[in-house]
Symmetry: C2
Subunit: 414 residues, 2 copies
């Protein structure tokens, strides 16, 4: 065990975060066209009846259905056609009485007195202004009634709803042109290491993970930004973290958190005003040096420098924490799939830790199989092959071939 680390288990961490992290988030008013995938901060009510008047659902003839009640194939009923109505027609003074009809196209409003539409293919045209009808029709047939889609004042979406494409359309349709949504959570990310660079073409340095985690942060819905790469220099790290905390709601660091003399990030963070340690290490491997602190109430998540360790900390700590700040329950939000383990593995080290193993799932004879991808926590190739991960409980030192496991799917996310 590394000295100085306390290794909280995930339940303790969950409780500590729920207790210490604030969920208060601002709201903003936006135009409905910009609302795709935003989360409502208010209930939404229709501001109008949709449709605003009864509307023809077909091309045909608007009549009063009572006039068709006696119509049969051997004794048709005649209607006099008074004119034609189109979706854009002015509707003032358009009215029918018994025995009268208007030609209407799909989407046209109905004239006063009409309560149904007879589709054009179900009438016989005697001449330009007379038709014959051979069946009886009921009120409401082939029309959409005023307010049938949305009634004025009807609640159509609840606070907390994440808006989809069709929902954005419904907002515009019901005249909800401006709406209150939660401000996106702002997250920033900083990589620490003398050997790192964000511009690999211009230098011999190793590419930092900033871009990778930036993408993941965007995919979970935050407004992400990159604070750059800094050397192993506590004063410089402190400055950048402070910059991140000033501009954003949560800061993630990657690397610079080994035990001993090279534990730069924690040293830097401790010197910030209002620093409070929430967890120094988690009982998860890889990822055990992941730490969480608050600086004047804002979370600072310190991820390890190895990619699998950093991703493990990101998936198990940063994702639920950020989603919690956004108003969701604190939990692992990944889609779960049951699978059979492709072959047996032994887990000798870190007995009291939860072990994360990245897997690739595929179907064999209709069954989902999870192939564990093993290798040093610094290997990228393990992750380019993976589409999910399994959590192996503490003290479990073997997973057998064919054993049922639950895979958390990373989908397009990782």
């Amino acid at each position: 065990m590394l000295s100085g680390f306390l290794y909280r288990n995930l339940n303790e961490l969950r409780r500590a975060i729920i207790k210490n992290v604030s969920r208060k988030r601002g709201t903003e008013s936006i135009y409905f066209k910009d609302a795709f995938h935003r989360v409502l901060a208010e209930d939404i009510y229709s501001r109008t009846d949709i449709p605003s008047l009864s509307v023809s659902h077909f091309d045909g003839y608007a009549v009063n259905s009572s006039g068709t009640s006696e119509a049969t194939t051997w004794k048709p009923v005649k209607f006099k056609v008074k004119g034609a109505i189109y979706p854009e027609s002015e509707m003032e003074n358009l009215k029918i009485h018994g025995g009268e009809a208007y030609y209407v196209t799909t989407g046209s409003l109905l004239p006063e007195g009409a309560d149904c539409v007879i589709p054009v293919e179900r009438v016989k045209h005697l001449n330009r202004s007379e038709i014959e009808v051979f069946h009886s029709f009921k009120p409401g047939e082939y029309i959409t009634l005023r307010g049938e889609d949305f009634r004025r004042g009807q609640k159509i979406f609840s606070k907390g709803h994440k808006l989809r494409s069709i929902d954005v359309y419904a907002l515009g349709l019901t005249k909800n042109f401006r709406l209150k949504v939660y401000r996106k959570l702002r997250a920033s990310i900083l990589s620490i290491g003398n050997e790192l660079t964000d511009e690999p073409k211009d230098s011999e340095g190793r590419l930092s993970y900033n871009l990778f985690f930036y993408r993941l942060l965007m995919e979970i819905g935050t407004e992400a930004s990159i604070l750059g790469v800094v050397d192993d220099d506590p004063e410089e790290i402190r400055k950048r973290i402070r910059e991140g905390l000033r501009k954003t709601d949560v800061v993630l660091t990657i690397g610079g958190c080994s035990v001993g003399e090279r534990d730069y990030v924690l040293r830097a963070a401790k010197s910030l005003l209002g620093f409070k340690l929430v967890a120094r290490g988690i009982k998860v491997q890889p990822g055990r040096v992941t730490s969480v602190s608050l600086v004047e109430g804002k979370p600072l998540i310190m991820l390890p420098g190895h990619i699998q360790s950093a991703l493990s900390g990101f998936l198990l700590v940063a994702v639920p924490l950020i989603r919690f700040m956004e108003g969701y329950p604190y939990c692992l939000p990944f889609k779960r799939v049951k699978a059979k383990f492709a072959w047996g593995i032994k887990l000798k080290k870190f007995k009291p830790f939860i072990k994360v193993r990245f897997v690739e799932t595929f179907k064999v004879n209709g069954e989902t199989v999870a192939k564990p991808l093993l290798g040093d926590s610094s290997l990228i190739s393990v992750l380019t092959g993976a589409n999910g991960f399994v959590l192996i409980p503490k003290n479990k030192d073997i997973v057998k071939k064919g054993e049922k496991v639950v895979v958390h799917m990373m989908n397009s996310c990782c």
Copy 2:
């Protein structure tokens, strides 16, 4: 049945599209940082060994493992520490012999002669330059070997692979700074109707579906653009379709395709040079007036004006067609979920047609239940409630309560 429509079934349509639609797509060279979610148009090979030299996986002491073979807790072995190596250290002339060690931190390269690392917590520090070791270590322990992650010349991604966040990182790491990807398919969309507007605030018009389908086109990965709203004027429609065909790879129209005098889009399309009709109607309800044509080889998909009909045509025709153009097999790509139908429904009309019914799925006692959302094909409220759809085979006129159905999930897409 509407006159003039031939109603192809979906298999006939599939064959006609595979036969007539070209899959040729351009490629472009892009910077790796812009490659997220793009599809590779070439195989990718690592241009370097990763890691470039063997690397320490821990903070500890780099030694030659042979010197530890005799070490035990009661008879430890001493090593002389020659200095310290950090990830950014210059490695020239750094070498160890038997009995010598270098202090190395995580991520540091190994000096010549070293083949393993002893973690710092597993040695005893006698003084500043001497340590004791109590166990034997094997070659390769606590290090990552040169090329273990990616070997120079190793194929890491295949042509056709859609790049995820971690893959983009691997591109940069392996010095694949520029790469060839398929050009995104460009799709444009046009709504037809005198009563429509894209700017509902500025007019009394009804909001067109352009923005809705624009979002769906973006979500299936095309570069979408909106051609606007045009009146029911064949000459104006013709001009806009031609503009769309000039700028983009596929054009979608919504509305303007009723039977008879108001069949503006087909009339406009027919007057374009190189026009060829592929399907005039599909055996699907709602959505049956959906038509497909080619204009000098470019697809023009004509969707009906009612929202459910248009969406049905989009999901069953436009999505597989566009994906086919992008190189995927022609199929319905939606995730399928088995569910029990929540209550029985009768289907009286359109017997020889496949019926599309939008549903909302939810879990009851661990089982997925699909609740059918019924109502006129013009109702938006049916779709704001739906998260999937079922396809009911032709000639089937009843779905019983509790009957097993396959739900195609629309996810965030619709």
